[in-house]
C-alpha cells in the first residue's frame, strides 16, 4: 500500500506474517480441541459460577438480611461491585471506539477481546442492582410500561432509573458493535470449517461475502458506531456517578464525579484488559499480534488515567477544604483518617502511586511487572468505590447513627461468583470466536507488519521511507 509510515514507529505485527498466516494463527485456537489449561480454567470458572448461583439463591431465599447492610449503610459490596464491573467494561469501548477515532492502530490487536470483556463485565455489573432488589421476581418494575400500581410510571427523574437506561443501552450497543465487527471473521472461520461447525458458523456469519459495497457500508457503520459509542461510554459512567453525586451527601455531592468516574473506569478497564491479554497471548500463541508494543501502549494509558484520577483525588481533597463547608471537610477527613483509612491507603497506593513506575520504559515492557500491576490497579479501583460508598455511609450526619460495615460470606461469595461468571463467558468466547479481529489485522499488515516497517523491514521499503523527505 502506498501509505507512508514514519520510520520511528515500531511494528505492530511481528513474525513477517502473510495474510494466510494471519488467518491460520487466529482461527486455529477455535479449531483445535481445548488444551488442558483451558479445561482446568473452565472447570474453575464454572465452579465459581455455580457458587455464584448458590449465593444468589441464598440471598433470595433468606432475603437481603443475609447481607450486612444495616441502618445508614444501605449500599455495601453490592454497589461497589456494580460500579467496579461497569468500570471494567469501559476499556473495551474505549479501545474500539475512542482509539479508532484517534487513529491509534495498535488497538486492532486487542479490540476484539476487549469488547468481549466489555459485554461480559456489563453482564456481571447488571446482576448487582437486580439482586440488591431482594425480591428479584419484581425486577420488571423498573421498566416503564402502563400498569396499575400507584404512581403510574417509573421515576424518570431518578438517577437509578437513568442507570437502567444507560446500562441496557450500553449493553445493546456494545453487543451490536462487537457482533458487526465479528461477522466478517465468522465468515473466515465458516469458509475453513466443515460439517456441523460449518452449519453453525453459517448462521453466525450472516451470509457475509466480502463484497466491496458491503465492506464500504461496514466501515461506515463501524465509524458511526464508534462515534456513538464514545459519548455513550462517557454517559454510562457519568450516570453511575450521578447515583452518588445528585445526592446531598458530603463526599458524594461533588461536580467532578462524572469525568473522574469515567477516567477511573478506563483505568481499571485497561488493567483488566492487560490481565486478560497477557494470559491470552501466551496461551493462544498470539505474541505476534499482541506484542510488547501493545503492552507498552496500554501501560501508558494506565499511567495517564491513573494520574488523571490522582488529579481528581487531590482536587476533591483541596476543594473540600476550600469550600469552607464543615460537613464536606469532615467527610474527607474521615475518608483519609477515619475507620476506613486502610481502604483509602489501598486506593491511593494502588491507583496513583504504584502506576508511576510506568514512567520507565523497561518496566512498561516487563510482562511480569505489568501483570502484577494490572491486578494491583484492579484492587485499587475496587477500593476506590468501597471508599466512596462505605466510608461515606458509615459516618452519617447524626453521630448516633455511626457504624461500621463488614460484609458477610454471602456478599463476598457474590463477588467471587461474578468473577466465575465473567471467566466462564470469556473462556467460551475464546473457543468460539477469533480473539483478534482478523480482517482489521490484515488491513494494517502493510503499515504495521515487521517486514514492512521498523528496523527489520525489507531494504527497498526502508529506502522508500527515507527518500520521501
Amino acid at each position: 500500500m502506498s501509505a507512508v509510515v514514519s520510520p520511528i514507529r515500531e511494528p505492530l505485527i511481528t513474525g513477517g506474517k502473510s495474510y494466510h498466516q494471519i488467518t491460520e494463527d487466529i482461527c486455529s485456537p477455535t479449531e483445535r480441541t481445548p488444551t488442558t489449561a483451558w479445561v482446568i480454567a473452565f472447570i474453575l470458572a464454572v465452579a465459581g459460577l455455580a457458587f455464584y448461583v448458590f449465593c444468589v439463591g441464598w440471598t433470595i431465599w433468606q432475603g437481603i438480611g443475609s447481607w450486612n447492610l444495616n441502618r445508614t449503610i444501605g449500599w455495601g459490596w453490592d454497589i461497589t461491585n456494580f460500579v467496579w464491573w461497569v468500570g471494567i467494561g469501559h476499556a473495551g469501548t474505549l479501545i474500539s471506539a475512542i482509539l479508532l477515532l484517534f487513529r491509534q492502530k495498535w488497538r486492532t490487536g486487542v479490540n476484539r477481546a476487549a469488547e468481549a470483556m466489555t459485554i461480559f463485565a456489563v453482564i456481571c455489573a447488571g446482576q448487582f442492582p437486580l439482586i440488591h432488589m431482594g425480591r428479584l421476581w419484581l425486577g420488571f418494575f423498573i421498566f416503564p410500561y402502563p400498569n396499575t400500581r400507584g404512581p403510574l410510571w417509573v421515576n424518570f427523574n431518578s438517577p437509578l432509573l437513568w442507570d437502567v437506561f444507560a446500562i441496557s443501552t450500553y449493553f445493546t450497543v456494545s453487543l451490536l458493535f462487537w457482533y458487526t465487527g465479528l461477522v466478517p471473521d465468522f465468515a473466515t472461520v465458516r469458509d475453513r470449517a466443515k460439517g456441523l461447525r460449518k452449519r453453525m458458523y453459517n448462521v453466525l456469519a450472516f451470509g457475509w461475502t466480502g463484497s466491496a459495497k458491503h465492506w464500504q457500508r461496514w466501515e461506515t457503520l463501524s465509524k458511526i458506531l464508534a462515534g456513538l459509542a464514545t459519548p455513550l461510554v462517557l454517559s454510562v459512567h457519568t450516570i453511575v456517578s450521578f447515583d452518588f453525586a445528585t445526592s446531598v451527601i458530603p463526599g458524594w455531592h461533588t461536580t467532578i464525579f462524572p469525568p473522574y468516574f469515567v477516567a477511573g473506569a478506563i483505568f481499571s478497564g485497561f488493567a483488566m484488559v492487560q490481565t486478560l491479554m497477557l494470559i491470552t497471548r501466551k496461551v493462544l500463541n498470539l505474541e505476534d499480534y499482541i506484542t510488547i508494543e501493545h503492552i507498552d501502549s496500554m501501560n501508558k494509558v494506565i499511567l495517564l488515567t491513573g494520574t488523571i484520577v490522582g488529579v481528581a483525588y487531590l482536587t476533591e481533597l483541596f476543594i473540600a477544604w476550600y469550600s469552607g463547608y464543615i460537613y464536606e471537610q469532615f467527610a474527607f477527613y474521615n475518608r483519609v483518617l477515619g475507620p476506613y483509612w486502610w481502604s483509602y491507603v489501598g486506593m491511593m497506593s494502588c491507583n496513583v502511586l504504584s502506576p508511576q513506575i510506568f514512567w520507565w520504559r523497561s518496566i512498561r515492557r516487563n510482562i511480569l511487572i505489568t501483570f502484577l500491576m494490572s491486578i494491583f490497579v484492579n484492587i485499587g479501583m475496587w477500593f476506590e468505590r468501597f471508599v466512596i460508598i462505605a466510608s461515606t455511609l458509615a459516618r452519617d450526619y447524626i453521630p448516633s447513627s455511626w457504624s461500621y460495615y463488614t460484609p458477610t460470606w454471602v456478599e463476598i461469595g457474590l463477588f467471587i461468583g461474578t468473577l466465575g461468571l465473567f471467566s466462564t463467558c470469556y473462556l467460551i468466547f475464546t473457543r468460539i470466536a477469533p480473539v483478534v479481529a482478523i480482517a482489521e489485522i490484515k488491513s494494517i499488515l502493510k503499515t504495521g507488519g515487521d517486514q514492512y516497517v521498523g528496523p527489520n523491514a525489507h531494504a527497498h521499503h526502508a529506502s522508500e521511507q527515507t527518500t520521501t523527505h
Binding site: 464525579f257 469525568p259 482536587t315 469552607g324 521511507q465 520521501t468
Partner: protein, 426 residues
C-alpha cells in the same frame, strides 16, 4: 525551505487592531465607575483567555507527541508559536498581580482585607486565596509552562538541523512532552482556581478547572483553524489539505461535545443537589444573563454540533472559517460569563463598604444586593468596547505568534512524522 514573512502589511493591520484595543481600554477606563471595574474585568478576561490558549497549545503539542500522532507534523509550527505567547501572557497576568498589590482593582473579593475579616468563609480560604499565593502561583506555574514551551520549541528547531534516521532529538522531545502532561494537569487546575474560580470567592465546584480547560481547548482549536486558513490564503502552508482541516474540525467537534458534557454535568449536579451555596452561581447567571447563558450553549454546542457533524462540511475552508469564528466568540463569551458576574458583585460590595456617606452606602448595598438586576452594557452583555478590547488582544496574540513563526521554517521537515503528515488521508 518555506518561511513565513511577517511583512509590514500584516504588521500594520495588527498594529491597527492593537491601537483599537488600547483605545477601547482607555475609553473604558475613563467612562468606568470609580473602581474601574469594567476596565479591569475586560483586562483579566482577555488575559486569561489568550494565556490559556497559549497553554493549551503547549498541552496539545505534548499530548500529540506522547501519543505518536502523525498527521499534525505539517502544522505543528503554529502551535509552537502559539505556546510562546505564554511569555507576554505572564506579563499580562503580572499586571493583574501588580494591580492586586497596589489596590488598583477590586476584581477579587478575597483581596479586600476588611471584607475578609468579617467573612468567615473567606477567612477559611485565606490560606489559599491571598495576594502572596496568587503572585507566587502565577509566577511559578506560568514560569514552568514557559520553560516547557521554550524547551519543546528549542528541540523542535534543533530537529530541523538533525537529519538522518536516529531521531535522538525527537526521543528527547517525547520525554519532555510526557513530563509536561501531569504537570499541566495539576498546575492548570491550581491556576484556574486562582485566576478564575476565585472571582466568585464564596463559590466552589470541583469540576470547574476541567470545564475551563475544555473551553480553552476548543478556543485554541478554532483559533488554529482560523489562523491556518488565513495563512493558506496568504499563500503559506500549501501542503496542508482539507484532510488536515478535517482533523482540526474533528477535534473541535469532539471537544465541543466534551465541553457541553462538562457544562451539563456541572449544571445538572448543582441543579439537582439544590444547595443554596452552589446554586447561587447559576441563579445569578440565569436571572441576569439569560441571553448569554443560553447563547453560550447555542454557540458552543448547537452550532458546532449541527455544522461539524457533516463530513463534507468539515473539509470546506469557508464553512470552517465561519463555524470557527462563531465558536471562538462563543468560548470568549463563556469566559465573560465566568468573570463578569462575580467581579461586578464584588465591586458592588466594595462600593458599599467604602461609600462616602451612610446613605450612599445603603444605596450601594441595595445595589449590591440586587447585583446587576438592571441591564448594564459591559457587564450583562459585552458592548462594543469589550469586542474592541478583544480584537486588540487578538491582534497582540497574533503579532507575537507571527513574529515567532517568522523565526523558523514553516515546515518541520525532519519531524519523523513529516512524511506521514504530507500523505495524511482520513
Amino acid at each position: 525551505m518555506e518561511r513565513f514573512v511577517f511583512d509590514s502589511k500584516i504588521k500594520n493591520v495588527l498594529f491597527g487592531f492593537m491601537g483599537l484595543g488600547v483605545l477601547c481600554l482607555a475609553i473604558t477606563f475613563f467612562i468606568d465607575d470609580e473602581l474601574h471595574t469594567r476596565f479591569w474585568t475586560n483586562f483579566l478576561h482577555n488575559s486569561v483567555f489568550f494565556t490559556g490558549i497559549a497553554f493549551i497549545s503547549l498541552f496539545i503539542l505534548s499530548a500529540f507527541i506522547t501519543a505518536w500522532a502523525g498527521w499534525y507534523a505539517l502544522i505543528k509550527r503554529i502551535w509552537e508559536a502559539y505556546s510562546l505567547f505564554l511569555i507576554p501572557g505572564l506579563v499580562l497576568m503580572l499586571i493583574v498581580v501588580i494591580g492586586l498589590w497596589g489596590g488598583f482593582h477590586h476584581l477579587y473579593h478575597w483581596a479586600d482585607a476588611e471584607a475578609v475579616a468579617e467573612d468567615s468563609i473567606l477567612l477559611g480560604k485565606k490560606g489559599f486565596l491571598n495576594k502572596g499565593w496568587y503572585t507566587v502561583g502565577t509566577l511559578i506555574i506560568v514560569g514552568i509552562w514557559i520553560f516547557f514551551a521554550t524547551k519543546l520549541r528549542q528541540l523542535s528547531l534543533r530537529e530541523d538541523e538533525n537529519q538522518g534516521m536516529n531521531f535522538a532529538v525527537h526521543r528527547q522531545m517525547r520525554v519532555w512532552a510526557a513530563a509536561f502532561l501531569p504537570i499541566a494537569g495539576f498546575s492548570s487546575a491550581a491556576i484556574i482556581w486562582q485566576w478564575v474560580m476565585s472571582v466568585d470567592a464564596h463559590w466552589y465546584s470541583t469540576l470547574f478547572a476541567w470545564y475551563t480547560g475544555a473551553s480553552w481547548f476548543v478556543s485554541a482549536m478554532t483559533l488554529t483553524i482560523m489562523t491556518l486558513i488565513l495563512l493558506k490564503n496568504l499563500g503559506y502552508f500549501a501542503k496542508v489539505t482539507p484532510e488536515h482541516l478535517r482533523d482540526l474540525g474533528k477535534y473541535t467537534f469532539a471537544f465541543s461535545i466534551f465541553w457541553t458534557y462538562l457544562w451539563f454535568s456541572q449544571y445538572m449536579l448543582i441543579w439537582y443537589g439544590n444547595v443554596g451555596e452552589e446554586t447561587i452561581y447559576f441563579r445569578e447567571r440565569l436571572d441576569n444573563y439569560p441571553v448569554l447563558f443560553f447563547g453560550n450553549l447555542v454557540l458552543n454546542f448547537v452550532l458546532p454540533f449541527f455544522i461539524l457533524i457533516r463530513e463534507d462540511n468539515i473539509r470546506k475552508y469557508g464553512t470552517m472559517m465561519f463555524a470557527s469564528a462563531f465558536v471562538f466568540i462563543g468560548h470568549w463569551i463563556d469566559f465573560f460569563l465566568m468573570i463578569k458576574p462575580g467581579a461586578l458583585h464584588t465591586a458592588h460590595e466594595t462600593l458599599a463598604h467604602h461609600g462616602a456617606t451612610a446613605e450612599a452606602a445603603e444605596h450601594a448595598a441595595e445595589a449590591g444586593h440586587h447585583a446587576a438586576s438592571t441591564f448594564e452594557i459591559g457587564f450583562t452583555v459585552p458592548g462594543f468596547l469589550e469586542f474592541g478590547t478583544m480584537l486588540g488582544f487578538l491582534a497582540l496574540f497574533l503579532f507575537v505568534v507571527f513574529r515567532n513563526m517568522a523565526k523558523a521554517p514553516l515546515d518541520a521537515v525532519n519531524d519523523p512524522y513529516y512524511a506521514e503528515s504530507l500523505q495524511h488521508h482520513a
